[in-house]
């Protein structure tokens, strides 16, 4: 199995490495997929990461923010970040000219526990922008298909125009080695060929063996609450439910303090936590 781990450390731990935005792919309103490539050729080849990890991206003159990585380490060379235009740094990022210079450092955080996931079924449940970190795990699993049993993706959006990676995921529906269930809450224009309804309804369409499955859940907190109920009803162990958390992060390496939740640093101990961790951390959800 792919075993990454070599976090970049420059002259300053905090100094980003130069990289360029080589392509931007509009996704849905206010969301773009940024393809980023290091300037230094050796780093293009050596940079690797674990699905679920994040990196710190700097826009010169504006600042730095954490982003989860949407690409898979099985497809090296270009790093993909699915970004919503929502804060100071992301707004500046959306306004950059083609081939703009940015700074990158990382990868940081624990990422998904790949050793534990190996040999199990994977159930990925995403809502909205929650697809961004889960896409990394999805392609990692599909590119290492023999290492996992069944791979199931459940992804829900509000309407067809708000589905991230829409065509890429629609293409998975006919694939035999993955069960891809896509749903939208509403389809006002009647153009949606997949399912309609909230993401939890997708549980009616699958048989899951909770003893041999890990669930990775990422999405808005409302969705999380209902998905959690479903998983617990299906007798999932709290250790087998994984989630990715968001916090204010200004260093990424457990120093600046901002991402502290109770007793843990989201940047060092997370951003992937089990549901059991979540119950034991105040303020977590």
């Amino acid at each position: 199995m792919y075993e990454p781990q070599n976090t970049l450390q420059g002259p300053s731990l905090y100094q980003p490495y130069p990289a360029r935005i080589i392509r931007t792919l509009p996704q849905i309103p206010d969301h773009q997929l940024f393809q980023v490539r290091f300037e230094q050729e050796d780093m293009v080849k050596s940079f690797t990461y674990r699905p679920g990890q994040f990196l710190m991206l700097s826009v010169l003159g504006t600042g730095e923010a954490p982003f989860s990585i949407s690409s898979s380490p099985t497809r090296p060379g270009v790093i993909e970040l699915c970004v919503r235009q929502i804060g100071r740094v992301t707004k500046a990022l959306f306004n950059l000219p083609p081939n703009a210079l940015v700074g990158i450092r990382g990868p940081y955080g624990n990422g998904f526990p790949l050793e534990q996931l190996r040999g199990n079924n994977l159930l990925l449940v995403a809502g909205g922008l929650g697809m961004a970190p889960l896409r990394s795990l999805l392609w990692y699993a599909l590119d290492n298909r023999a290492k996992f049993k069944d791979v199931i993706l459940m992804y829900g959006g509000r309407n067809p125009d708000e589905m991230l990676f829409k065509y890429e995921l629609l293409n998975l529906i006919d694939r035999a080695d993955v069960k891809c269930l896509l749903t939208v809450d509403n389809d006002p224009e009647g153009i949606w060929k997949a399912r309609i309804g909230v993401v939890t309804k997708l549980f009616d369409h699958v048989e899951i063996d909770p003893e041999n499955t890990f669930a990775a859940v990422c999405g808005p907190s409302v969705m999380f609450k209902f998905v959690l109920e479903k998983l617990l009803q299906r007798n999932f162990s709290k250790d087998r439910i994984l989630m990715s958390l968001e916090r204010n992060m200004q260093c990424g390496v457990g120093k600046c303090g901002h991402c502290m939740i109770g007793y843990k640093y989201t940047c060092l101990d997370g951003p992937i936590f089990t549901y059991w961790d979540a119950i034991n951390l105040p303020e977590m959800i």
């Binding site: 731990l13 300037e39 010169l60 600042g63 204010n248 120093k255 109770g262 060092l268 303020e283």
Partner: protein, 342 residues
Amino acid sequence: MKIVKLPKEKLAEFLSCLRAFGEIHAPTKRGEKSHVFAPLKEPAGIELDYTRTILPLKKYFLPPMETMFNFQAEKGYETPAEESDKKYIIFGVHPCDIHSLKILDLVFGGKYVDGHYFSRRSKAAIIGLDCIPDEFCFCRSTGTDFVDDGFDLFLSDIEDSYLVRVGTSLGDDMVKAADTLFQEVTVQDREKYKKKSIQRGQSFQSEIQLQDLPEIMDLEYESQIWQELGEECLGCGTCSMVCPTCYCYAVFDELNLDAASGQRIRRWDSCLFKDYALVAGGHNFRAQRSSRVKNRYFHKQRGFVSQYGRPSCVGCGRCKEYCPAGVDIIEVVNKLRSETRV
């Protein structure tokens, strides 16, 4: 450990000898009652009778504001020219403050080593000094009233002299450079030291019981105490600034007038500030002041224990002395405890 004796009348001379090892910073008076660590110009300006300085030693290693690196359009990020190799000697550091440095070493070390912090740390020698606690000190409760290491030299006051513990090779060099000033420790000196030690132990006026506090805090997570504290607290962040183990910082980019270059800067931050846990999009994970106060206490007394096996509080009493709202950590802990007993 090697222990020698320095008669007090030789102190000025010793300080002169020390200048060969670096710029001396020592407690000096600021205003009527306050003290600060500042460069020592004249040996006479030293105030070894102080209890605590307003700002702790972290200002030397994690400055209130510092440039981490520069950036320039189309060139990217560049490390600024190496800071000078100037050496420092910080003289007269109390045990609690030495412990606080050991705690900061844990935070800035580990898997990711903060070079900014450690390059400054390696340029500063620490000369410790014992002290008599005042009404704010509770270092005995936090186990930080004595130090075994973390200093180059450590001076203990025995009336007319100092017993000097030599903690490092550099400390030994300092003693050797002023060889004629030092004397051997006599039986009487040892007796004086022990007498002083008992006297010091009896001077503590404040206690705080920290054993099993993490469990109590878990039990009292929803306590009304946090609400009340949130109403008392002004959210000014003074406690964080004066705390020797508060290390949180904020990062921002500062643009030069050419609008094409600038600096990335870090600056002391406080978890009590309203925007501390704010994320893009406007969600604030700790919008209530009560939740921010609670978080501060939890991190110091509960979270740090889980992470590093000890609370990060060293009992220096600064937060209590300087809080404009009179929030008293001892009172808070006692309230948590008594509520549990009811």
